[in-house]
């Protein structure tokens, strides 16, 4: 299967230069951060290419404590997990109805759900902020969860397509046996479309975990902050504390990166199928 050796010599050189350059541009910042975080601030700035002489954990420890990253991680995990499961549940039911049931206004309602796919979150962030303030929900984790639960269009589109791919005969037998729609959805459809649900969960987890705009606009008190917002606030407070900043970035970057490195195959496959559909 290897076609690379059939390239001409200049082609090969070009390919190595391009991929090599890009590999350096991608890997170097991560490696540099990971090594430099163990050095004191003045060394990070004055001798940026000198490897660390000892494993100084001060930057990581101070960033963890000053940035309250323990709280940030608990908040982010809580908000992401609740929102993702909520979305799978809500959008799974709705997608099933759109895929399998006949009802008045089906196309119209589906079209209304599609509209959301065309609207940038950045456009509705101000009115959403005002709505949350009217509901007296500003500066709560609940406000974010409610917002994320409304991110329906992509999940509905994607899950509906996967339900449509399941042959009708499978559930018709169960229907004749008198099974209810919820039973069919839960016992028959869900196991058959598990990979579609996993895809939706992966994509939404990434979106919600890395979302910055809504936390920035909704949250005020440190105790509610998510990881990206806490990180940005940390930057504002410790602008020139270069060691602490590197510590904070490392704390925010490495855990998700390790999850990705452990699961890179399935994550890449899911994101690829999700984005094309």
């Amino acid at each position: 299967m290897n076609k690379f050796h059939r390239l001409t010599v200049p082609g090969k050189v070009g390919a190595y230069v391009l991929c090599g350059g890009l590999a350096v541009a991608t890997a170097f910042p991560i490696l540099w951060m990971t090594l430099s975080v163990f050095k004191p601030s003045d060394e990070i700035i004055n001798q940026p290419f000198k490897p660390p002489t000892s494993l100084g954990l001060d930057n990581l420890r101070n960033a963890w404590e000053l940035g309250k990253f323990g709280v940030l991680y608990i908040n982010s995990v809580l908000i992401t997990v609740i929102s993702v499961f909520g979305i799978l549940f809500l959008e799974g039911m709705a997608a099933y109805a759109f895929a399998r049931l006949r009802f008045r206004g089906r196309n119209l309602i589906f079209l209304v759900f599609l509209v959301g796919q065309l609207v940038p979150a950045q456009m509705i962030v101000i009115p959403s902020f005002i709505e949350m303030s009217q509901l007296r929900l500003l500066d709560t984790k609940l406000s974010l969860i409610l917002q994320y639960l409304s991110w329906a269009p992509f999940a509905i589109l994607f899950l509906r397509a996967s339900f449509l791919a399941v042959p009708r005969e499978i559930e018709e037998a169960a229907l004749l046996d008198g099974a209810g729609r919820m039973t069919i959805l839960w016992r028959i459809m869900l196991p058959l479309t598990r990979s579609a649900f996993a895809t939706v969960a992966t994509i939404y987890a990434l979106w919600i975990w890395n979302d910055f705009l809504y936390p920035l606009v909704y949250l005020r008190s440190e105790g509610n902050f998510t990881v990206p917002l806490g990180l940005a606030e940390f930057q504002g407070l410790y602008t020139t504390f270069w060691g602490y900043l590197l510590g904070a970035i490392s704390i925010a970057v490495w855990p998700p990166l390790l999850v990705y490195l452990a699961l890179s195959r399935p994550i890449q496959e899911r994101l690829a199928t999700g984005a094309i559909r």
Binding site: K3, R6, A15, Y16, L18, C19, L22, A23, T26, A27, P29, P48, L90, E91, M93, A94, F103, R104, I109, V112, V115, G116, L118, V119, P120, A121, Q122, M123, I126, P127, S128, I130, E131, L146, L149, S150, A152, W209, N210, F212, L213, P228, L229, L231, A232, Q235, W242, L246, I249, V253, P256, L257, Y260, S264, Q268, L271, A272, A275, I276, R277
Partner: protein, 315 residues
Amino acid sequence: MASTVLPPSAAAGVTRIRRRPRRLLRESLTAYGLIAPAAFFYAAFQLLPIAGAFALSLFRWNGITLSEAQWVGLQNYDRLIHDPLFWRSLEHNVLVAVAVLVIQCGGSFVVAAIIHAGIRCHSFLRVLFFAPVVVSSVAVGMLAIFFFSPSIGLLNQTLGAIGMDSLQQPWLGSSRWALPSVAVTYMLQNFGLSMLLFLSALKQVDPHLLEAAEIDGASQGAILWRIVFPIIRPVASVVFLLGMISAFRLFETVYVMTSGGPFHASDTLVTYLYSVSFGGNDIGYGNAIGVALFLIIFTLAVIHLRVTRAGEANE
């Protein structure tokens, strides 16, 4: 279900007439019940704010008490058309979008083809290039400051160390280089996503087709451009459109690296919207910018939907 007890011959005619509307009604009720929870959240936190964005763009309001909102009709849009800062922000988005199309999307197609062909370490490169996509843009932007900072940046230190002082720039502090620095960071982070989409498309291409072309003596470059690219064109248009749409939504990277500065030199539509609404408390005008952003993205997204639907029809 009771009717099934009757002998089929006797009941068939009657039940068909009676059962159908009732079954349809029951099915409808089930459907509404299944959709209602999703529809509730969607209506409350998507549809209502969408309507709100259009409505608020017709008012002048400082965002504090609703009763102080003052109806101004299309005045905010009139101001928008004559606002040089709006056009400048839009221009920055367009520049980034063009760079994304040419460098990120074009480059990722070439890199995807090289990785697909099986360059040494191709699995490693595949994992590496995609890694920045899963990291938060805030973290990536903050890390980029260490490279582009005028005072402590690694870029300037490296250029100084290798005797190329003349190329040193204040990067993030310069009105000329702030936007390119942000754009490079942004593209480096999103490169992996475009590459991944091209890679999964390349896997679908029938290898026999390429072998035939090789036997006919076509060069690898010609095969890539003349045979492979036309086959994966539906995916390519998705990659291009997604790239453009996200370039117009550019926010986090700018917010963290330059907050739109120096002197609006790297402002985008969304950072401008944000500073007008939350810095200047000008909610009505902020929403007018939001509606303009919506019109741009809506147009691109409609094209995107058309293309993907057309792609599905061809399959």
